[in-house]
C-alpha cells in the first residue's frame, strides 16, 4: 500500500519513479478496505466511532504515533487523495452512509462490516461493493456461499451474526454456476464473473433465493477486471442490495485495486519490478551531519544490482512484510539499511504477558522512528540519511494490526513521505 501510493503521488507530481519489490504483497492480503483507526489502545473492548476525531486526541496521548507526527489534517488530506485516486481508477470507495453518495466525508463514522467468520470489523472507507454489509443498516441478511468453495462458510457467518443480534440466515448455490473447472481459487472464480452470461445466471439464482427486504452477502468474488459492471448487473438481476464479504487471501477486492493502480503507474511511466529483493545499500554514513544513500542493492541470480536514485523511500514493512529480520537471541534488525529500531533486542522483552494485552507488545509496537517528514531518525532525533524516507508497516509506535489502522497508516505516511520528497526535489 504505502509504497505504491507514494509512487503514484510522486509520479503524478512529475518525478521519475521506480518501484522495486520482493514480491506482490499487502494489497493481496487484507480486506481491500481502508481501516484508519478501529481500536485505540486505551479502549480495546469497543471500536472507535469517529476515527479522525480520535486521531486528534493522539497528539497529546501518543506524540510518537505516526498519525500524531502528521496531525489529523494531513491524514485527512491523504485520505482525500486516496479517495480521488480510487474514483479515478473506477473503483470508488465510500464511508458510512455513503452508498448512494460516494465520497467519504459523510458522517465520519467507522462502519462495521462482517468478516468471513461473521465478526464485525470497524473500517473507515470501503469499496462500493462492501458498503451494504454495514451493521448500521436494518435489512435482514442472507449469506450465500457455494458448495465446495474453500474458506467461505455462510452458516458460520450467519450464525455468528445472529448471535450478535442480527437477523441472518445462510444458503448455498452450486459451484458450477461460477466455473466448469473443478479446482479454482477465489481469483479464478472472480474472473469467471467477468463473463456477463455467467453473472446473469447467478443473478437469477440470487433473485430466487432472496426473500423480500433481505440484503445478500456473497464471498468477494464478484468480478475481477470487470467488477463494477459485474456488481451492477448482479445487483439489478437479483433485485436486492448485495455486498461482498472479503475472503481469506488472496483477497479479490485488494487485488482489483492493485491491478488498477499498477496499470495507472505504468501509464505514468513508473516501473513496478517484482521479484527484486532489496538486500543492502551503499551509503555515506552519518558523521556529525546526516549521511547519504548512494544506491540500494537488490539480489539477482548473479552480482547484486545497484539501483541508483536521488531519493529513496523504504516501504518494506515490518516483520510480516520482511522489512525486519531477527535471530534466535532476539536480535532484530532492519534488512536494507540496518537502521536503528525501537524494538527491544532481547527476546524476553518482546512480549507483555497476555496475548490480547491492550497495551500491545513491544515487538509489534516498535519499528523505525521517523520525524514529521517521515525521515528515519536516530535516538537523538537526528535525521540519519538526508535522502531517505520511510512509510508504512515499518514505522514505530503503532501496531496497525491491533489498532486496525494498517491502510490508514500506509496511505497517510506514504502520501506524506512522497510529498516531502517532492518538496525536497523542488529545493
Amino acid at each position: 500500500w504505502s509504497g505504491l501510493l507514494a509512487a503514484y503521488t510522486a509520479a503524478k507530481a512529475g518525478l521519475q519513479v521506480q518501484v522495486v519489490a520482493k514480491g506482490l504483497g499487502s494489497m493481496h492480503w487484507a480486506a481491500g478496505t481502508v481501516d484508519v483507526l478501529g481500536y485505540s489502545s486505551e479502549e480495546m473492548s469497543r471500536p472507535v466511532q469517529q476515527p479522525l476525531e480520535a486521531i486528534q486526541g493522539l497528539t497529546a496521548s501518543h506524540p510518537d504515533h505516526p498519525y500524531a507526527l502528521l496531525g489529523a489534517h494531513q491524514v485527512q488530506t491523504a485520505l482525500d487523495a486516496f479517495s480521488a485516486l480510487a474514483t479515478e481508477l473506477g473503483l470508488p470507495y465510500s464511508g458510512a452512509g455513503g452508498f448512494d453518495t460516494p465520497g467519504y466525508s459523510t458522517s465520519g463514522d467507522n462502519m462495521l462490516l462482517p468478516s468471513a467468520v461473521g465478526s464485525l470489523r470497524p473500517t473507515f472507507l470501503a469499496p462500493q461493493a462492501q458498503l451494504a454489509g454495514d451493521a448500521s443498516r436494518v435489512e435482514p441478511l442472507l449469506i450465500v456461499g457455494f458448495t465446495g468453495l474453500r474458506d467461505f462458510y455462510p452458516e458460520l457467518i450467519a450464525e455468528n451474526l445472529a448471535k450478535q443480534g442480527f437477523q441472518a440466515r445462510a444458503a448455498f448455490l452450486p459451484l458450477n454456476l461460477l466455473t466448469e473447472q473443478g479446482d479454482r481459487n477465489n481469483v479464478h472464480l472472480a474472473q469467471g464473473l467477468d463473463d456477463k452470461t455467467r453473472r446473469m445466471k447467478l443473478g437469477g439464482e440470487l433473485k430466487r433465493l432472496a426473500r423480500p427486504g433481505e440484503r445478500i452477502g456473497l464471498p468477494a468474488i464478484l468480478g475481477l477486471d470487470d467488477h463494477v459492471a459485474a456488481f451492477s448487473d448482479l445487483h439489478a438481476t437479483a433485485g436486492a442490495p448485495l455486498f461482498e464479504i472479503p475472503t481469506l487471501p488472496p483477497c479479490v477486492p485488494g487485488m482489483r485495486l492493485f491491478k488498477a493502480l499498477r496499470g495507472r503507474l505504468w501509464n505514468l511511466g513508473v516501473r513496478v519490478d517484482a521479484g527484486m529483493e532489496a538486500i543492502g545499500a551503499g551509503t555515506i554514513p552519518p558523521n556529525g551531519a546526516a549521511g547519504r544513500v548512494q544506491w540500494v542493492e537488490t539480489a539477482t541470480t548473479s552480482r547484486p544490482l545497484k539501483n541508483r536514485a536521488k531519493n529513496y523511500l523504504l516501504a518494506t514493512g515490518g516483520i510480516l512484510g520482511g522489512g525486519f529480520d531477527s535471530d534466535h537471541t532476539g536480535r532484530i534488525w532492519e534488512t536494507v539499511f540496518g537502521l536503528p529500531l525501537t524494538i527491544p533486542q532481547h527476546r524476553y522483552e518482546w512480549f507483555r504477558p497476555e496475548f490480547m494485552n491492550p497495551a500491545g507488545h513491544p515487538v509489534f509496537n516498535g519499528g523505525l522512528a521517523v520525524d514529521g517528514r517521515m525521515q528515519p531518525v536516530d535516538s537523538t532525533g537526528q535525521v540519519i540519511y538526508s535522502n531517505l524516507w520511510a512509510a508504512g508497516g515499518a514505522l514505530a509506535s503503532v501496531d496497525p494490526i491491533q489498532q486496525h489502522s494498517l491502510e490508514g497508516i500506509a496511505i497517510a505516511t506514504g502520501f506524506a513521505a512522497a510529498q516531502a520528497i517532492v518538496r525536497a526535489m523542488a529545493q
Binding site: D183, Q191, P249, R271, G275, T300, S302, L305, N307
Partner: protein, 424 residues
C-alpha cells in the same frame, strides 16, 4: 536408473517461508487455464511436505504440467523457490517412472542441432511437412501445431566465425561470448548481430569452446545429464572467468542457467560454479552497465517503427529489472512498447508436447492480445528468448526479433528484414 539425489540445500528450506497466501496461484498463468495443474502452492510448498528422496511414490503427477515460467517466484512476497521445487519434483518423478524418448530428444538441443545440420534443407522440409508432423505427433507425442525452429541453411555460427576470422576486431578490450545452441544451429544471425554490436563498441570477442547450458535437460527432468553438461562448461569457461573476462550471452535462458539454474537445481555449489555465475552477463544487462559508465556508443540511425517487446519470463527470472527497456528506447524514432503479459505460453520445450500444446496457446493469449492491441501498424515484435520468439511467430504470424538485432540495425550494421549483416 539411479536416483539423482539432491541435498535440497538451497531450494528446499525456502518452503518454510510459505505463508499460504495463494498469491502464486492467483497469478499462475497455467493454473488459470487448466485443471491439470493444481497451481504453484499445491504442487510446490504444499506437496513438498509429502515428498522425500527415495520415497516409493511421488504424491502427485500434476507437477508435470508446471511450465517452469517462474511467475510464482516473481510474485511470492516471502521468497519461496516454487518453480525450483516443482522442477526437482519433476526430476524425482522422472527418476521413478523413466523419461519418454520424446523428452530425452527435446532435452538435447545440441544433439538435435547437429543432426539437423547434416542436411538442414531436408530437416526443415520434414519439420514443415504435414505428414511427417503427423507421424511425429502419433509416434512421439510432439504437437503438430507448434512451430519448429528452422535449421540454418547457411552453415553454423561456428563456421561463419571461422570463415570471417581474419576480419574480426582485435582490441585490448575483450569479452567472451556465450552463443548457446540456437545461435549455433538455428539463428546464427543473432550471433552475428551481437558480434557487430560488441565490435562497434570496440570490444574484441572471444568465443571459446562451449556446450549446451543444459536447461532443456533440466526442463525435461534429466538431471544427471544436465550435471555433465554444466561440469563441461565449467571446465571450458571458468579459466576465462578467473582471468576477469565478462562472459556475455544473447540467449537469456542459457545465461540464467549458467548463473543460477544449474548450480541451484543440481546442487553444484563449488567455487568454480560460483566464479562462473558471477562472470556471466545477459547481453542487455551488460550493455546497460556499459551505458551507465558512459561507454556505450549511441551513434544510432533512426528506426521509425512501433515495436512491441515481450520480456520473457526467463528474462524476468534474472531479477535484473528491464535492461532492454533501458537501451532500446535510446534509438530515435523507435516506439518500444513493453508487454506486461506473464508468459508467452511456449515455455521452452513445453509447447512441443502434444498434451500441452493447447495450454501453451491459452496461456499465450494475454500476450497475443497485447500485440494485437498495438494496432495494424505493427509489422514486427521483439522478444529476448529464442523458443518464445518461435512460439510468438507461429501465433501472431509476425516476425519476432531478438532486441540485439534491433540494436545492430540501429548502428547501421544489420538488415532487420533480411536478418543479415550489412557487410557480409
Amino acid at each position: 536408473m539411479p536416483m539423482h539425489t539432491t541435498s535440497w540445500e538451497s531450494v528446499g528450506p525456502s518452503l518454510d517461508e510459505c505463508i499460504k497466501c495463494n498469491i502464486c496461484t492467483s497469478y499462475c498463468p497455467v493454473a488459470e487455464v487448466t485443471d491439470k495443474f493444481h497451481g504453484p502452492k499445491y504442487s510446490g510448498p504444499q506437496a513438498q511436505r509429502f515428498r522425500e528422496n527415495g520415497q516409493p511414490q511421488s504424491p502427485d503427477h500434476s507437477v508435470d504440467y508446471c511450465s517452469g515460467c517462474r511467475v510464482c517466484n516473481e510474485v511470492c512476497p516471502t521468497g519461496v523457490r516454487i518453480a525450483e521445487l516443482n522442477a526437482r519434483a519433476r526430476a524425482q518423478a522422472a527418476a521413478e517412472h523413466g523419461i519418454p524418448l520424446r523428452n530425452r530428444l527435446l532435452g538435447r538441443s545440441d544433439l538435435l542441432g547437429k543432426m539437423g545440420m547434416i542436411a538442414p534443407g531436408l530437416a526443415n522440409f520434414a519439420m514443415s511437412n504435414g505428414l511427417a508432423r503427423s507421424i511425429a505427433s502419433g509416434v512421439m507425442g510432439i504437437s503438430k501445431g507448434a512451430q519448429m525452429p528452422q535449421w540454418s541453411t547457411e552453415g553454423t555460427f561456428a563456421s561463419w566465425l571461422k570463415r570471417t576470422g581474419a576480419q574480426r576486431l582485435k582490441s585490448d578490450k575483450k569479452i567472451v561470448y556465450f552463443h548457446g545452441c540456437s545461435t549455433m544451429y538455428y539463428e546464427p544471425y543473432v550471433g552475428k548481430a551481437a558480434m557487430a554490436v560488441f565490435e562497434h563498441n570496440g570490444f574484441e570477442v572471444l568465443v571459446p569452446e562451449q556446450g549446451c547450458c543444459g536447461l532443456p535437460l533440466l526442463n525435461n527432468a534429466e538431471f544427471p545429464a544436465a550435471e555433465k553438461y554444466h561440469h563441461r562448461n565449467l571446465e571450458w569457461l571458468v579459466p576465462y572467468a578467473r582471468q576477469g573476462y565478462q562472459i556475455v550471452g544473447t540467449s537469456t535462458s542459457c545465461t540464467l542457467t549458467l548463473k543460477e539454474e544449474a548450480p541451484d537445481m543440481l546442487d553444484i555449489h563449488s567455487p568454480e560454479a560460483h566464479e562462473l555465475a558471477m562472470a556471466v552477463w545477459d547481453m542487455f544487462e551488460w550493455l546497460r552497465e556499459l551505458h551507465d559508465q558512459g561507454q556505450m556508443k549511441t551513434d544510432f540511425q533512426p528506426i521509425n517503427m512501433v515495436l512491441p517487446y515481450h520480456p520473457p519470463c526467463q528474462y524476468r527470472a534474472h531479477h535484473i529489472g528491464s535492461p532492454v527497456m533501458d537501451i532500446l528506447p535510446l534509438i530515435p524514432g523507435l516506439d518500444v512498447r513493453e508487454s506486461h503479459a506473464r508468459c508467452c505460453g511456449g515455455a521452452g520445450t513445453y509447447v512441443y508436447k502434444k498434451e500441452k500444446y493447447q495450454i501453451a496457446m491459452d496461456v499465450g493469449q494475454e500476450l497475443f492480445t497485447f500485440f494485437a492491441d498495438q494496432g495494424p501498424q505493427v509489422t514486427m515484435t521483439a522478444c529476448t528468448s529464442e523458443t518464445c520468439r518461435w512460439h510468438i511467430e507461429s501465433a501472431t504470424h509476425l516476425p519476432c526479433r531478438h532486441p540485439i538485432e534491433v540494436l545492430a540495425a540501429a548502428y547501421g550494421l544489420y538488415d532487420l528484414e533480411k536478418r543479415r549483416l550489412v557487410k557480409e
